[in-house]
Amino acid sequence: MTILTQPASAPPLVRHGLLGWLTSTDHKRIGLMTLGTALAMFFAMGALALTMRSQLAQPNGHLVSEHTYNELFTIHGSGMIYLAITPLAIGLGVYLVPLQVGAPTIAAARTTLLGYWLYVVGGLSVLSGFLTSGGAASSGWTAYTPLSDTQFSPGTGQSLWIVGTFMSAVAMILLSGAVIWTALARRAPGMTMLRIPVFTWSMVATCLMVLGAFPSLLAALGLLGLGRMAPSVFMSNIWNVGFQHLFWFYGHPVVYVMFFPFVGAVAEVLATFSGRRFFGYSATVLSLLAFAALSMSVWGHHMFTTGQATDDYYSLTSMLLIVPAGIEYFGMLGTIIGGQLVYRVPMLFALAFIPQFLVGGLTGIMVATPVIDYHMQDSYFVVAHFHYTLLAGSVFGLFAGLYFWFPKATGIMLSERLGRVHFWLMVIGTNTTFLPMFALGYEGMPRRVALYPANAGFTTLNVISSCGAAVLAVAMTVFLVNIILSAVRRVPAPPDPWRAQTLEWATTSPPPRLNFPQGQPLPEIASYAPLLDLREANT
């Protein structure tokens, strides 16, 4: 047995009440606050999407003006990416990584809390644009020039967006720094690098991408801010193209930042509910690192149509992504084939993740092929592709993780029945909303349009898509109801309700302030599945 190294000095300070939460340096509280805030953002941005789908449910819709529609898709897109999915991905790491590596605290706890607060401040700054006279930012999540300059985006909404996005990007860098530092330097005795759970490995790869790519976004936003103060900056085309390079150097890896942690979550869920250890661990770890490195090298495929990117190189590196992705899929399928599958709610979401995310990935390879990209650029095909990646993929992985770790974090179980209703509504809603968009894009419907003519042939598919969005709204409502009802009923969760495999399940639900009861030995860490080792040794 490995004895957990606990600080022998004074016990940690624990404040109670609201101020205790707001100023807590406990990674679990910071993680839960980040996840809670990001979920609130997710619901708010989802409401904006529902408004857009209502507008598009009929040709020449008049629910909102064209300018308002521009604000809606800008804040929906940027809010989902900067303020919802990225913080959800990294927040999950803030909560879980110290527990999974057997650490009593997160490294740089105050920096972690500062990261959370900068994220909140940044989010409020972006959203406060709606309160200004000119409205919120309306130049898309990419904020290309000249759309985002003072001539085409006058008023303070765009400036608030730049400042807010800058702050939230700094926040994600701080949070990621703390998470990767913990994974690399705060591991319990016996937890070698090749005994780290797959989820924590996915967080290591995620944080490497954040640290390598997010500074480029800071530079891009700085340039954008400078351009709004001194418009002559963008008189030179060098900086218009330079902005796009800076932006996409961040803009592609961030997509991986938004799904890697959920691939890790799905891996943990599949292994647990298959009753066996994850298949092909070493190959999966290496493929995660290779996948992350390659993701840094493909940004130019977003710029094929500008004629300012090296098409051959970016097309080649984009194709190479298939190799590590294939290895990860091999690992996931190898885990469930021959396993004794238990179809609990986390497992349902994890199983749905596999084919749905595949659709997002394969269509990504299509649009990373220059000749196809010239046809699909800025069409609804692209919208369908990235929603299959981020909603059908990442969000399903997120819910697999939320249902899986909710009992650990709160000490109470979620309703299985409502979870199943939530799952099936999500599957129906997601595919009904986004599958028609592939056809819409292929037939030529451009993205970011508030109106389309009745004779364009887009009406039926748009109606189907909008119906799907309504189903998704119901699904999310069921999820909320599930959380509220479960909080009222308070069915207590045991330390390990799923017969899981990693260290966080060796402590109480919820874990104590220093993660593991003081003086209590941790299970011996001889592999990446120490609790499974323990069970196998006892049988």
Partner: protein, 105 residues
């Protein structure tokens, strides 16, 4: 597999991709951007290796208020870019308060 080697190795993989990019004749801006990122990764790896030689500290859980004060300062610095530099004055006070709290332990 050593922790520092993971970060450095990941940087090396990216460096190889930069070399391939230069072989394709990419724009100098492209490879300068990518090379800069690789340098940053290696800097992090070096920092980590240097830090690893020290005994890791333990944070008792105090000082969370300091971060709130810094966040308040950040609001004013951010707004100063939009509404004028005079707003920075309001950022000074929470920063001073944070520094004093940090100093007093």
């Amino acid at each position: 597999m050593k922790a520092g080697a993971v970060v450095a190795g990941w940087g090396a993989f990216n460096a190889a991709l930069v070399v391939i990019l230069s072989g394709y004749g990419g724009d100098p801006f492209e490879w300068a951007l990518y090379s800069g990122s690789v340098m940053l990764i290696w800097l992090i790896a070096l920092t980590f290796l240097a830090w690893q030689r020290r005994e890791p500290g333990y944070h008792r859980g105090s000082g969370g208020e300091i971060t709130l004060l810094v966040a308040v300062a950040a609001i004013f610095v951010g707004l100063a870019f939009i509404y004028g530099p005079w707003l920075v004055i309001f950022a000074v006070w929470p920063l001073v308060a944070a520094a004093l709290r940090l100093r007093s332990g």
